[in-house]
Amino acid sequence: MAQEASLSASRVDIVRALREAAITALISFGMFLPLIGFNTVQNIHNELVLETRWPLLAALVGIITVGRFLHALLIAPWLARRAMRPRQQHGASAVWRARLGRWLIPFTLGFAVVYPPLALSVVGVQGAVKWIDNFGVQILIYVMLGWGLNIVVGLAGLLDLGYVAFYAVGAYSYALLAKTFGLSFWLLLPLAGCLAAFWGILLGFPVLRLRGDYLAIVTLAFGEIIRLVLINWVPVTNGYAGISSIPRPTFFGIPFNASDEGFAARLGLEFSPIYRTIFLYYVILALALVTAAITLRLRRLPIGRAWEALREDEIACRSLGINTTNTKLTAFAMGAMFAGFAGSFFAARQGFISPESFTFMESAVIVAIVVLGGMGSLLGVAIAAVIMIGGTEIMRELDFLKLVFGNDFDPTQYRMLLFGFAMVLIMVWKPRGLIATREPSALLSDYPGASTVPLRPRTNLAEPPLVREHHP
């Protein structure tokens, strides 16, 4: 009896899945017919002719239809069942998550510190340069940029799509000042940060009256303006050709070169580029950690609270006597300053910069890192940077895919596709970013006082209500 019931139920399920699959097939056929089904090519007489690609079209529609059928038949009921199940498992996963949360940060920090020796011992000197430079330094630059932008976007809630402009200001400040005046990296690092902050304030002044989408559009335009100035102001920036042979950073005055005065010779070691790479790795690690430390400190000060309040409700801020213009400008300047630090480090590391490195794409990647990581969460931003930058670097290593797809296949070409895919997945799975918890900047329970009412333990901060839409 029961078997019969379940049988008829499964038959209903199959019929429903078939119907959904059929509808999906129809829609995908309609969409792909003009996109995939027809292809215009130029023939030998220079004429445009229409070609059809029925097999490809059939294959795509087939894949989508089968996928939808399986989803409707298996995955959707499974998800529904999981939602129905009692919360027991969630409790266990919460304990597990808390344990992970406690150990993740010390572990990550420790790993970041021992990463260069680890890479050296695993892949040897030759391989380690690539692993430390392409993965370690590259990822840490984006971690730092992400943390810097996190102040502007994550804390103050100002969507800045032109962040790369300040990165460019820092890089060109270092390159030009170091080449022209021969100043050292350590002197120019704070100077580049200050210059970037200055430009942040200068650009910020006229645009900070705008909010939301309007601010995003204007900052995007500023990013482009800076890039166009770099391209067209040839006497100073050398235009598209960029600036080359930028002085490299020294180990507190000792250069990393093959000369007798070089780092290796002084320590009695054999010359190798690995020393500079390791040094640069620790420099950017220190810079990134300084960014994190300052952000954490500022969050607990009135200015940090005012930034977050600004993100929540600007009008309420003004009604409490907060000068919102100044508050926004400090956030803008602070974010720009960290971009300036990162920029001057970037110029020193590369030894060559050109406007090519400061396109809108870079801004978009940094914003994506902040949004995917979870606005305001330092750990989330770091994880997102590792995934997105490390992921694209990993793709260079996937040579075996050429065996599958043929020699013309270049995995890095699919970077943007995977970027978009990751974005869609995160937005479906975790719309508020990888880590959406917000740690309060002050807890009353930390300040035992004369209150007569006993404090209730903190309830679920893990799932705060969705942020209201910010529409001007």
Binding site: A306, S319, P440, S445, T452
Partner: protein, 320 residues
């Protein structure tokens, strides 16, 4: 506490004619205030006085311009015409009013008395310098931040001073730690007062509606105002919560030397707690007086119940 102005004379006179005569020491004087949005006249020659230590209610039908008056007082709108003067400290400074108006500056001081022309100040300075705090019709809390953080953000300006505009605080100086401690104690005082101490570390958005209303008032009080402007504080509250609100407002007035100006639709609340009522309709003042006088004013009844103009003129409606 009775109203400090001779309202009886005012209500008898036709509205919108002369500015009210200066009272002994009002806290706020609004003199022919007009606000036009393009061709729309939202407020027309509106004058009133809020007495020191009074709870002044601003009432009127929907769309009468009450919130516009609030926005003008708190600096969110710049009025088309008019003068909004606020004073605290030594009342002798009121004598400076005309000189200040002619001088074109924002404020005047005499002894410990301060006089401000609010229409000349940007919104955040109205709170920071002139010590006017406000709440909003649709509650505007920082929903994702905790209840305690909401009260700390309200103490932004003193804390910024104490932290040496972030520089000293970032270094972890003890003077800042003391100031933060004091800010938290103040927040705790208000939390105890609004019975939300046990929820201090929860996000403000998770509080029940009544709690959010109380928190918004407490947050405004954390800015140390001399005048508290409340935009429909009883909206959405049940009768017992409204009664509690009345006690809460009385204690604010009596214990914190704060005068209150409020917009309210709930007439029971208005009649119970206010010392002085001003009625606004179509941007014009139609009545001004004690709650009893307002209750019996035929113009007010007409405005609320909507009768024909001539009926009012003939006194054709009966007072209930």
């Amino acid at each position: 506490m009775s109203a400090t102005t001779p309202e009886a004379a005012l209500t008898a006179a036709p509205p919108n004619l002369a500015p009210p005569p200066p009272s002994p020491a009002p806290i706020l004087r609004v003199e022919p205030l007009s606000m036009r949005f393009g061709g729309l006249v939202a407020i027309n020659d509106f004058s009133f006085i809020a007495g020191r230590g009074d709870i002044t209610a601003l009432i009127g039908p929907n769309g009468a311009g009450k919130t516009t008056v609030f926005n003008c007082i708190t600096g969110f709108y710049k009025p088309s015409e008019g003068r909004i003067a606020l004073q605290f400290g030594d009342p002798a400074v009121w004598d400076e009013l005309e000189a200040l108006t002619d001088r074109g500056t924002r404020s005047a001081a005499r002894g410990d008395g301060m006089l401000f022309l609010l229409e000349r100040m940007p919104d955040y300075l109205v709170t920071q310098k002139a010590r006017v705090a406000r709440t909003f019709q649709n509650i505007r809390l920082f929903q994702g931040m905790t209840v305690l953080e909401n009260l700390l953000v309200a103490q932004h300006n003193p804390l910024m001073w104490a932290s040496g505009f972030t520089a000293l605080g970032a270094l972890g100086l003890r003077s800042y730690a003391r100031a933060e401690r004091a800010a938290i104690d103040k927040a705790r005082y208000w939390l105890d007062k609004i019975a939300l101490t046990d929820r201090a570390d929860d996000p403000a958005g998770e509080l029940p509606y009544g709690g959010q209303r109380r928190l918004e008032i407490a947050r405004a009080m954390c800015t140390d105002p001399v005048l508290l402007c409340l935009d429909e504080p009883a909206a959405g509250l049940n009768p017992s919560e409204s009664a509690e609100l009345g006690r809460y407002l009385h204690s604010i007035r009596d214990e914190h030397a704060t005068s209150i100006l409020l917009i309210e639709h709930d007439m029971t609340v208005v009649m119970e707690i206010s010392d002085h009522v001003v009625v606004l309709d179509h941007g014009q003042k139609i009545a001004d007086g004690t709650p009893e006088e307002i209750c019996n004013d035929p113009k007010v009844i007409a405005a609320y119940l909507g009768v024909e103009e001539d009926e009012v003129a003939e006194g054709g409606i009966e007072t209930p």
